[in-house]
């Protein structure tokens, strides 16, 4: 590692340095707004520094990291999500009767961990990033520790994520025993040279357990609804976006080449196909009758990761566009949905049930409109980001002739439409006459801060822009 390597790493180093800086400011002055401001400045500076990274494409930084177009794209997505989650957190935590400053510090570290995963080229970086993300998330999930549900979610995530990390580590040890290397590049070479090496494949499969856990693929999905429900809303948004984005970026880095190089019926391809099919079917079925919006989005995220996996299995040039585009659209939609929910909630009183949102449009037309667009995007209705994302995934799947996956995707998306529309209808139902105009939770003296309003407006614009005018983004996303 030399000084010349540094500029490529700025987008990651700046948030990390900001975390340390934040720690120092906390010793001088405890102020939640200041802490939030420092964190946001860190994320924004990181986003600006992406320009410096973009100039140094395909740049290996020591043997641990590679800063290429793919990493830069995902860094952008992760930093963007990081910024928005901190914006949402400011309004959400305003009623928390406990110190709030550590939240931003840990959140900066979590995003750094995710960024390391997205750029890793070595198992050590992968594992350190994974753990940095996980350890920060344990605390963030249980952050409002006076809330029993948050603590319960924290414990569940702690035990299950810990176990999945152990699986990853054991898998790494097995691959190390089989290959004697910890770099992704040599793993690729070995996997293509000896596709039948059981020790090696066993290691890869155990790593997959950990990645599948983070992505909430069936059958590693059980934690998702409980953690989504219990975690404070901004953290739910973080788990849904940053953690999944990082895990999928890592998966792509680690195995996309292998999947492409191997024949379609190779063991790994079969395993991935089974995971994708199970995720699409089980995720959508679970969401069908769910009455809690957070859990519903958790189940829908399971299905969405199944869709993303479809593009991954298909491989080819189409997948190289489809995966980042799908994720960009997915993350923007999820952030928008959770953003709306966040600004109507506090740690003590979250609006979670679909019933709570009945008639929202009559009191908060803008929030309801944004939530509608976000859900339509998740459902894949044309002219939204989600439609194009799914469209590219389908194109990739068809180009590779993965008809089982494509047909399942289309059929289960139909199920998806049902439950998203169920929520949307509730939003626009007139408040019942003779009853309370809206259920009690909307009692907050509601004042939307300029910052939150701006963030939500940006998300709304992005949702439509990605759906209507994709070319500049596509241009950006296409990595060599």
């Amino acid at each position: 590692m030399t000084w010349a390597d540094l500029p490529a790493l700025y987008p990651m180093l700046i948030p990390a340095a900001t975390a340390v800086l934040l720690l120092l400011t906390l010793t001088v002055r405890r102020d939640a707004r200041l802490a939030a401001g420092v964190a946001m400045a860190g994320f924004i500076a990181g986003l600006l520094a992406l320009a410096a990274s973009a100039a140094e494409l395909s740049h290996p930084v020591t043997m641990l990291l590679t800063v290429d177009r793919f990493a830069v794209v995902f860094w952008g997505i992760l930093l963007f999500a990081g910024l928005l989650v901190s914006v949402f957190a400011v309004g959400y935590f305003r009623t928390l009767r406990e110190p709030r400053e550590e939240f931003y510090l840990l959140w900066l570290l979590a995003v750094v961990g995710a960024m390391v995963m997205a750029a890793s080229a070595h198992f050590a970086a992968f594992f350190l990033g994974l753990e940095l993300l996980s350890v920060s998330l344990y605390v963030l999930i249980a952050y409002p520790r006076m809330q029993s549900r948050a603590v319960e979610a924290g414990v569940k995530y702690l035990i299950l994520a810990g176990a999945s990390s152990a699986f990853v580590l054991f898998g790494m040890a097995l691959t190390y025993a089989a290959t004697g290397t910890l770099t992704f590049a040599e793993l690729f070479t070995h996997l293509t040279l000896f596709p039948g090496d059981v020790l090696l494949l066993g290691g890869v499969v155990m790593i997959l357990v950990g990645v599948g856990f983070k992505l909430a693929l069936v059958p590693f999905h059980f934690w998702t609804p409980d953690v989504y429900e219990g975690a404070p809303l901004p953290v739910t948004a973080a788990v849904a976006t940053v953690s999944k984005g990082a895990a999928f970026a890592l998966l792509t880095r680690l195995l996309l080449g292998v999947i492409q190089a191997q024949p379609g019926h190779s063991t790994l391809a079969v395993i991935f196909t089974l995971l994708a099919l199970a995720s699409m079917i089980v995720g959508n079925l679970l969401a069908l009758a769910q009455g809690n919006l957070k859990r519903l989005l958790a189940y829908s995220s399971i299905a969405n990761m199944g869709y993303a996996l479809t593009a991954f299995i298909a491989g080819g040039d189409a997948a190289r566009v489809a995966i980042p585009y799908f994720f960009a659209g997915y993350i923007v939609a999820v952030l928008a949905a959770f953003g709306v929910m966040t600004q109507l909630s506090t740690p003590e009183h979250e609006l979670q049930e679909v019933e709570d949102y009945r008639g929202l449009a009559w009191r908060y037309p803008w929030s309801a409109a944004l939530l509608t667009v976000a859900l339509l995007s998740l459902a894949g209705i044309p002219l939204t980001a989600g439609f194009l994302g799914k469209f590219f995934v389908l194109t990739a799947g068809m180009a590779a002739g993965r008809w089982t996956l494509v047909v399942t995707l289309v059929l289960t998306s139909g199920l998806g439409l049902y439950y998203y529309l169920r929520v949307i209808t509730a939003l626009y139902q007139a408040p019942l006459e003779g009853e309370q105009p809206t259920p009690p939770p909307l009692h907050l003296p509601h004042r939307l801060s300029v910052l939150t309003g701006l963030a939500l407006a940006v998300l709304a614009a992005l949702l439509l822009l990605l759906g209507v005018y994709p070319s500049p983004v596509l241009h950006l996303l296409a990595w060599p």
Binding site: A16, V20, L65, E102, A125, L128, E131, L132, M146
Partner: protein, 171 residues
């Protein structure tokens, strides 16, 4: 040499089995410490004394102290005295002590054989590991330090007293 490995491995497995089966958390914890010590001995027999030392100091030492500490805290309650009385019961300490005795014998044997011990590999000395850490793995070390920072801040936040326990609020 081989016999030492087999013995240590057997101790590790037996102790781990007991971690699973002992109902009392304190018992389980003691067997866990034994298991970690046994693995440390295995590391030593494999020729990685540095790792073995770290295993004993950090794992079996520091981390397990944390566990003990927490278990003690959790036992603060009406049954505290009951538990206190339980400390002295022989079935609690006899098993771990026995397994530890086996390990101790092994370590003594190894120390006695030390001068002729040629099983140490050519690489893996603390200096070499240190050079690797601050060379190609520098970024890794930095990340690990961030991880420790996260652990520190997180444990600090979660560990402070609840607001209603301290009317002044906050720390």
């Amino acid at each position: 040499m081989n016999i030492i490995f087999y013995l240590a491995a057997a101790v590790a497995i037996v102790a781990t089995l007991l971690v699973v089966t002992r109902l009392n958390a304190v018992h389980a914890l003691l067997y866990l410490i034994v298991s970690l010590l046994a693995v440390a001995v295995v590391f030593y027999t494999l020729g990685a004394p540095f790792v073995a030392a770290l295993e004993v100091i950090i794992y079996a030492g520091a981390i397990m102290v944390l566990f003990v500490f927490v278990i003690m805290m959790l036992n603060l309650g009406p049954q505290a005295t009951e538990t206190e009385r339980g400390w002295a019961e022989p079935e609690l300490w006899f098993g771990p002590a026995l397994l530890c005795g086996v390990l101790l014998g092994e370590v003594i044997y190894l120390i006695l054989r030390m001068p002729t011990g040629t099983t140490l590999a050519r690489v893996g000395t603390p200096e070499q590991v240190g050079v690797a850490l601050y060379g190609p793995y520098l970024l890794g070390v930095e990340l690990a330090s961030l991880l420790l920072l996260a652990g520190l801040v997180g444990a600090y936040h979660l560990g402070r007293r609840a607001p209603h326990e301290e009317p002044g609020g906050g720390v």
